[in-house]
């Protein structure tokens, strides 16, 4: 009986259709150990945890290969309920708490202690009475275990956000037989002192023999708190280390480094930027976008430059463009070709020559129920009043011109469809992205901002789109800003790449900078210092 490890996941492989998300991943955790699970977005961390928790999205898409052992015994976890019974708990990023209930009630949701009543004898266990005294006692005990002195009878809604997470932890501990707790990016929404507190609590829990899997990007926290770690990259397990044997730079390199595929021929990149004026000047941009807060960003982007913005999820790179386009409240001094941009005026960016292709194709990027042609020309109609023809005193849409233009774009970008009248909702992800791009290009913008241009697109289409962007810059001198979490594509066509970390520009690097430089720039955080 291999009792040494409380959890072993061995040779886990998972495909979503033809998309391989995990390949031969193994992870082992000893009792009382704090094990960090690291990796970039899309590396496979969430999928691995979903498998551990028996989430339905795993089973409804064909299950997984590999074995999961708990205390040496193989288990097949098919539901969150089963995971709980097996002793696995999870502290989610979005708290599973009810503000209207008391702390005790929250700790005991779904597991209330009850005593039988006359009614329950007849109608079943559901009508047993709540034993509030015992529940409060249990809650008190759980709270004491993690060193929280909040009154278990207070309503949760009156507590500060930082405390709520502790209540969630208390709930997991209260579950009998909990052997392993998973913390999913727990410090993401906490203040510095709250985060410190949390790490202390984690150490306290682990000292009681409960193992912890700690999912995070924050290298400093890992170095301070974890005992060992596993790094995932592109669905594969690239390293397993004990913390004492490694350092931040090595971890950063492991997370980021990969063989760079030449996505674009070198010969295409011959654009000379010397002497170009500043196209977009950003000074002290602050954006209030809930998950991608921008604290202070200043950039100068040259005309005709292909400028990349990279960084980990949640660090603010997506917030920059959303703020510029007016989707979220923003402050700052922005000029476009010398013209001042009014951030609080909705649509000012579009009117001043920006076009934006969002990363959220289906949500923000397209009208799914409308045809390809209508999607492509929408903004041209809306902003530039093009594609309209006179009809008495009013102007109506000019279907013929629209169709002609749409067919042109379909040809240029190789959009696979049944025709310009097909509804965009029925296109594949990659082709939807092309329609979004076509829509932006139809505006003949001075500055084109593309967020995650090739996410979910096959390699052939990737090359096509990236090459098209380079050609566009050459022909039209369009300034192109690309936001992407795939460093490879940024490094293949950008002139410069800014890495955003914790809402600020961490570093602006040339594409040929070392992997370690990129890795460190991305993991640069305030907890503990080491600011560059």
């Amino acid at each position: 009986m291999d009792d040494e490890y409380v959890l072993q996941m061995q040779h886990i492989t998972k495909n979503y259709g033809s998309n391989q998300v995990l390949y031969d991943v193994s992870i082992s955790v000893k009792p009382g150990e704090i094990h960090a699970l690291m990796g970039e977005n899309g590396a496979g961390k969430s999928t691995l945890m979903n498998i551990l928790f028996g989430m339905s999205m795993i089973h409804s898409t064909g299950g997984y290969e590999g074995t999961v052992l708990i205390n040496g015994e193989e288990v097949k976890i098919m539901s969150p309920q089963q995971a709980m019974e097996a002793g696995i708990g999870m502290v989610h990023q979005e708290f599973m708490l009810i503000p209207g209930f008391t702390v005790t009630e929250n700790i005991k949701i779904g597991r209330e202690i009850t005593t039988p009543t006359i009614a329950s004898l007849v109608f079943g266990k559901d009508l047993e009475k709540l034993d509030r005294k015992k529940m409060a006692q249990d809650a008190r005990q759980a709270l004491n275990t993690i060193g929280m002195d909040i009154d278990e009878n207070t309503r949760l809604g009156t507590l500060p956000v930082g405390y709520m997470q502790f209540v969630e932890i208390a709930r997991e501990i209260d579950k009998t037989g909990v052997k392993l707790l998973v913390f999913d990016e727990p410090t993401a929404v906490l203040t510095e002192s709250e985060a410190e507190r949390l790490l202390e609590v984690m150490r306290m829990i682990s000292s009681k023999g409960i193992a912890i899997i700690f999912i995070t990007h924050r290298l400093r926290e890992v170095m301070d708190t974890a005992d060992s770690m596993t790094v995932l990259r592109d669905g594969e397990c690239v390293a397993r280390r004990t913390i004492s044997e490694t350092n931040e730079i090595e971890i950063a390199e492991l997370m980021v480094g990969r063989k760079i595929e030449k996505l674009v021929d070198d010969s295409v990149k011959t654009y000379d930027l010397a002497g170009s004026r500043v196209a977009v000047s950003i000074k002290d941009l602050v954006v209030d976008m809930p998950s991608e807060r921008v604290r202070n960003v200043s950039l100068d982007i040259l005309e005709g430059e292909i400028f990349g913005i990279g960084g980990l999820a949640g660090q603010g790179k997506v917030g920059i463009v959303n703020g510029l386009m007016g989707m979220y409240p923003a402050l700052g001094e922005i000029t476009v070709m010398g013209e001042y941009l009014e951030l609080d005026k909705l649509g000012d960016a579009i009117h001043k020559g920006f076009a934006f292709v969002s990363e959220d194709r289906r949500g923000v990027g397209l009208l799914l129920d409308e045809s390809i042609e209508n999607n492509i020309v929408f903004n041209a109609i809306n902003i530039k009043k093009e594609y309209l023809s006179n009809f008495g005193i009013t102007k109506l849409i000019n279907t013929r011109a629209i169709r002609r233009h749409a067919q042109e774009m379909i040809r240029i970008l190789d959009i696979r469809c049944t025709g310009p009248q097909q509804k965009t909702g029925s296109l594949s992800g990659g082709n939807q992205q092309k329609v979004c791009l076509a829509g932006a290009l139809t505006l003949n913008p001075r500055v084109l901002m593309v967020s995650e241009p090739t996410r979910g697109i096959d390699i052939g289409a990737k090359k096509l789109i990236l090459e098209y962007l380079v050609k566009l810059r050459e022909k039209e001198k369009t300034t192109i800003i690309i936001i992407s979490s795939e460093l490879a594509e940024l490094r293949s066509i950008c002139d410069r790449i800014a890495i955003v970390s914790d809402g600020r520009i961490s570093e602006i690097l040339k594409p040929d900078a070392s992997d370690a430089d990129f890795g460190l720039a991305m993991s640069n955080l305030r907890v503990g210092g080491d600011q560059k």
């Binding site: 599973m96 209930f101 009630e105 949701i109 009850t114 006359i118 009475k129 709540l130 009156t158």
Partner: protein, 474 residues
């Protein structure tokens, strides 16, 4: 630590949160004085309406707790009751047996309907209220189909008093006098006492036996206390003076208030003594003393001639009020069971409930079933009190007025308590009675008053829905 709000801010908050209730109190008081009517007219009318409608309004609480919002579909429960009433009257039953038979018939029907509505609501999570509203109209259509064409047309019936000449379809009004009218109201107090006595004996015995079998602590002392109390009260009821008092079926409001005052004082004194003994607390027991003071004040009021004459004019049907009281007690007991707590959880957040292993769909359906069954009982109470069964109209505005009443009491789409329900019924129906009178006094046209009260009912619902939408956006 949470700071103490300044008393100014506290008062302001209080006013804002209870604005609807305050508005209504102002309207009621205003209408009372404008209309020039007397308490002697108002109070009896009011208490009749309270006895008729409170049960139904209380049936709206469970869906609110379970997150289904305002149950516009309680019409469905009313329909179940009406189907039962028709058949019971047709078969010639009357009195208490009649109403018991009604309950027997309408319960399974209400369970079936409630299940259907609940299942439908699960398919339209987020639009339950508009769904319930439309469902109510839809059911009305089916009901009319049943009563106008199927009864008589397909199901053979013959009864010239109930069926339209021609043999097909039920008449517009069915007179319940002589069969179901007051069947619940007329149950004398002594009968109730008898039944309660036997129930207490049986339940206590069952408890003792259960504990014996399970080898648990017998708690003999408490059981004996309960039993002896029951026997004493039962024996007292044989005393001639009390016996004649108890053999009536109506209680004068005056007497009810006196009894209430007595009970409150005894209960609170008991609590003070127990507190002192068990917890050895020192200092004034503020809450209990407050209750006693209020009770004594109420008693003092009954000596003022204006009030005394009004209170004597009101005769309360005891069993009905006991049912209403019983439902209130049931509510607070139910919310303290596992099922009740699950419903609260589901109502607050379906995601949290699911991740805690609660079967959200099943819980919502149970909530709907309970609400529909209670609504059907509420309709039975209402019909047996009115005494005439308006076949095609009795159920149509039931839902809207009940919901309006609940909202007037200060409830919202998210939160409703028993107190709010009772307060709402009192305020809403006071305005209901006074509006036409005020209209006549102000505009010389009682009709305006009637339209005004309908406007108020709709308006209050529109306002509550708007507020709910506005708040949930923040």
């Amino acid at each position: 630590m949470i700071e103490q709000k300044s008393s100014n801010a506290y008062v302001k908050d209080l006013l804002l949160n209870n604005s609807v209730v305050i508005l209504f109190v102002v309207l009621c008081v205003g209408s009372f004085f404008v209309s020039g009517t007397t308490l002697n007219y108002l109070l009896p009318e009011l208490f009749i309406r309270i006895s008729r409608n409170t049960f139904m309004v209380l049936s709206l609480l469970i869906p609110v707790v379970a997150g289904l919002g305002l149950n516009f579909g309680i019409v469905v429960g009313a329909v179940a009751a009406q189907i039962a009433v028709f058949w019971v009257v047709y078969w010639g039953f009357s009195g208490f047996t009649g109403i018991l038979l009604c309950i027997l018939i309408c319960t399974p029907l209400a369970v079936l309907f409630g299940y259907g509505v609940g299942a439908l609501f699960n398919r339209m999570k987020g639009s339950e209220m508009i769904g319930g509203l439309v469902m109510g109209y839809f059911f009305d259509g089916l009901y009319q189909l049943l009563f106008l064409y199927i009864i008589g047309g397909i199901i053979p019936v013959s009864n010239p008093t109930m069926i339209i000449a021609g043999g097909i379809g039920v008449k517009n009004t069915i007179d319940l006098m002589g069969n179901l009218k007051y069947s619940l109201d007329n149950v004398p107090m002594i009968a109730i006492l008898d039944v309660v006595f036997w129930i207490v004996i049986i339940l206590t015995s069952i408890q003792l036996i259960y504990r014996l079998i399970k080898k648990q602590e017998l708690r003999l002392k408490k059981a004996l206390l309960v039993l002896s109390l029951a026997v004493i009260i039962y024996a007292l009821s044989y005393v001639p003076a009390l016996s004649s008092f108890l053999s009536t079926d109506r209680l004068l409001l005056l007497n009810a208030i006196e009894l209430g005052v007595l009970a409150t004082c005894i209960y609170n004194i008991f609590r003070i003594i127990r507190r002192r003994k068990e917890y050895e607390t020192t200092g004034l027991p503020k809450k209990e003393l407050l209750y006693i003071a209020v009770a004594l004040a109420a008693y003092a009021i009954t000596y003022i001639p204006v009030f005394e004459s009004a209170f004597v004019a009101v005769r309360l049907p005891v069993l009905t009020y006991i049912c209403i009281g019983g439902l209130c007690v049931f509510m607070s007991w139910f919310l303290n069971t596992r099922l009740g707590q699950n419903m609260s959880t589901v109502g607050q957040s379906r995601t949290v409930a699911t991740s805690s292993g609660i079967n959200v769909d099943r819980t919502r359906i149970i909530a709907m079933i309970m609400s529909t069954v209670l609504a059907s009982y509420g309709q039975l109470i209402s019909l047996q009190n009115i005494g005439t069964f308006s076949t095609y109209g009795a159920h149509t505005q039931v839902g809207q007025f009940a919901i309006a009443a609940l909202l007037v009491g200060g409830a919202s789409v998210h939160r409703a308590t028993t107190k709010q329900a009772v307060l709402g019924v009192i305020l809403f129906h006071t305005l209901f009675i006074l509006s036409p009178l005020a209209g006549k006094a102000l505009f010389g046209n009682a009709q305006i008053g009637e339209y005004f009260r309908v406007f108020v009912a709709y308006g209050v619902i529109a306002m509550a829905l708007a507020l709910h939408a506005w708040r949930s956006k923040k």
